[in-house]
Subunit: 219 residues, 2 copies
Amino acid sequence: MEVGAVVFDAYGTLFDIDALAPQCESLWPGKGKAFVDLWRAKQLQYSWLRSLMASYVDFDVITAEAMVGACKVLDLPCDVSHIRSFLKIIRTLQAFPEVPALLKALGGRKRVILSNGSPAMLEATVGNNGLSGEIDLILSADTVQVYKPDPRVYQLVVDKLAIEKERIAFVSSNGWDACGAKRFGFWVSWVNRMRSPLDELGVVPDQILSSLAELPGYL
Amino acid sequence: MEVGAVVFDAYGTLFDIDALAPQCESLWPGKGKAFVDLWRAKQLQYSWLRSLMASYVDFDVITAEAMVGACKVLDLPCDVSHIRSFLKIIRTLQAFPEVPALLKALGGRKRVILSNGSPAMLEATVGNNGLSGEIDLILSADTVQVYKPDPRVYQLVVDKLAIEKERIAFVSSNGWDACGAKRFGFWVSWVNRMRSPLDELGVVPDQILSSLAELPGYL
């Protein structure tokens, strides 16, 4: 198979969510990691539930609602200033160290981001990491008003690039996203940095890597 | 509003999931509670993800897949005999103590179960609790091959009973299910036994109770 495009998930795949924890210490001293873990779990849950309930709101809103939900459980303060600060922190999320060299190495191919994030969030985060020149296209679930793993989100890539789905390499660190993309029909690489067990969703990715740095050798 | 039917969620609402933990001690000594907590989280997650991925399998399969997923994370053994035993245990799930008297007290109205469970699971669990005579109708997500909170599941009640949705009282202990049902248009009572914060999904139930025993006084 000749790969026509390499499509990356953003949060957790190109950008390091765990790196948020130390930054959140300034908002909730001693609770940064507990907050980030629960906030992320709720962010995903809310994105799936709102997709099923057909009550889409954009990913900034999901992010803020998940903050409120997590803070209630953890009994942490969460007013407008916390939300404003956190949405700023999210936009400066750091890329994993191997990302700039990886994107350069893939320079001959279309390099695409497909994410649940809103276009504004994604543009800001890519720009803040100095990667605007290394990403050819940013696609957001916002266009179809539903979140991954709904197949309409993955279909965005096919519609935009006009490449058969089997020739699209999809790369994600989120196991459920890798499974959703595989079920849709992409060739899928799961970047399993934590060596976690794969969730049992009836499909398995084509490839499992322990870091994005391994990817160019396989394409 | 005159209530035309009272519709109950099953797992966690009429039947006590936490009561599984001691029974699971025989399968995984010392790990019963850890297993039940993670298994339940994955069972919900998988039901939502498979609904979004349009790859429905019935709730016995979801249940078994969530067992495998949870056991991998917890490093517990999970072979065919564990799965067979657990699926049997699920069918003998105990009703909360207030349930028989509650259902009798509601006897003048249609008493319905609407659950993600497969028809066979639900019939068995209702029967094993001696409640077959107190439930007028069992409806399963299996009919529409997608799980709650997809509106097609809640619509099953409207189609089957031919009652306007505003006249249907929907009762669930699962906050996300209460929100899904409210978004759909039912009158919703959330039974919040653990006094947990409500998840932030853009809707709130009409009523919050701390036990099912309070319900008849409000209808």
